[in-house]
Symmetry: C2
Subunit: 191 residues, 2 copies
C-alpha cells in the first residue's frame, strides 16, 4: 500500500486503476483514453499495454475496484445504529455529507451506454435499494410500501446527483443544502 503513489519510476496495475478512476471522476468514462492516462502518469502507451490487455480490461478492473472500495464502509457504519428511523436519517445525512465519493457514481450515470457500466450499476442499484427497503421495513412499513419508498428515496438520490454534479443547476448554498436534506428526511422518513 504505497501512499498515493510517490513518483517512483515503475508503475503497477493498481496505479493505472486509481488514475483511471480519478480521470473518470473528473471527465467521465468517455475521456478515459490510454494515451491521456499515460501522459498523466508520465509514461507512454508502451507501459500500459504491459499491464493491461486492453482499454476495456483496465476499465473493467477499475470499476471492480470502485465497487469493492465504495460503499462497504458507509453501509457498515450505518448498520450499527439500532433505531430503524434514526438509521435512515443518519444514512441520508451521511450520504449528503460525502459529496466527493459520488463523483464517480455521477460519472457512471452518464455512461449507462457502456456494456461494462450497465451491469455494474444494476448490481449496485439493486443492492442499495434492497438495503433501503430493509431499513424501511424495520420502521413498520409493509413489504410493498417499503419497496416503493426505497425506490423513491433512491431515485431522489440519483436524480439529485444528476442535477447537481452533472448539470450544475443553480448551486445551493450550504444553508439551503442543509435545509433541503432535512426537508427530504422529513418527507421520506416515516413518522
Amino acid at each position: 500500500m504505497t501512499a498515493t503513489r510517490p513518483d517512483r519510476a515503475r508503475l503497477t496495475a493498481a496505479d493505472w486503476e486509481h488514475a483511471a478512476l480519478e480521470l473518470i471522476a473528473e471527465q467521465g468514462v468517455g475521456a478515459l483514453a490510454v494515451e491521456t492516462l499515460a501522459r498523466r502518469l508520465g509514461v507512454t502507451k508502451g507501459s500500459f499495454y504491459w499491464h493491461f490487455r486492453s482499454r476495456e480490461a483496465l476499465l473493467s478492473t477499475a470499476l471492480e475496484r470502485w465497487e469493492d472500495e465504495g460503499e462497504r464502509v458507509l453501509l457498515a457504519q450505518v448498520d450499527t445504529i439500532p433505531q430503524p428511523r434514526e438509521r435512515l436519517c443518519e444514512l441520508f445525512r451521511r450520504v449528503a455529507r460525502e459529496v466527493q465519493p459520488h463523483r464517480i457514481y455521477a460519472a457512471l450515470l452518464k455512461a449507462l451506454d457502456h456494456p461494462l457500466v450497465i451491469p455494474l450499476m444494476q448490481k449496485v442499484t439493486q443492492r442499495r435499494m434492497d438495503f433501503l427497503a430493509h431499513a424501511y421495513r424495520q420502521t413498520g412499513m409493509d413489504r410493498a410500501a417499503a419497496q416503493h419508498r426505497a425506490r423513491l428515496a433512491y431515485a431522489a438520490y440519483v436524480g439529485f446527483l444528476q442535477m447537481n454534479l452533472n448539470l450544475s443547476v443553480p448551486r445551493l448554498s450550504h444553508e439551503e443544502y442543509e435545509a433541503y436534506v432535512e426537508h427530504v428526511i422529513a418527507a421520506l422518513v416515516p413518522d
Copy 2:
C-alpha cells in the same frame, strides 16, 4: 408537415432533425453519426452536408426542436386544472403515463458531458422545477418548503427515468408501477 416522411426521394432539414431525435432516443447522443443517419434515410453524407454545416449544427437544431415540441402540451393541459393539489396529482399521473416522450430526455441525461446538451438541460430543468415550485406554493406551502419539495419531486423523476430507461432495473409490472406512482403521490403531494 409530411406524415412520418413517406419516401419521396428528396429530403428536408426537418427530416434529418426528426431522424436525429429518433436515433438519439434509441441509442443516445453518442450514436448520432452522420453516416449512420444517412444510411437510415437511404442517402449518403453528400446529402447531409448540403442541409447542415456540421454534425453539431444538426444536433443543435434537433435539440431546439425537441425543447419546443416537448413539454408545452402537457404543462398547458395540466395548467387548466383549478385545484392545486389535484393539479399536482394529475401532473404526476400524466407524466407517469407518457413513457415514450421521456426516451429522449433519458438519453440526454446520459449526454451531460456534451457542451450543447448541458445548457439545454439546465433550462429545461429550471423551468420544470419552477413550475413545480409554483404548484406546491399554491397548495399552501411556504416559499422555501415549496422549492425543496419541487427539487425533491423533480429529482425523483429524473432518478426514476435513469433507473428504468437507462438502467433496466428489474422491470416493474403494470400493477406495481401504478402502485408505485400512487405511493409517490401520497408521499410528495401534501395532505
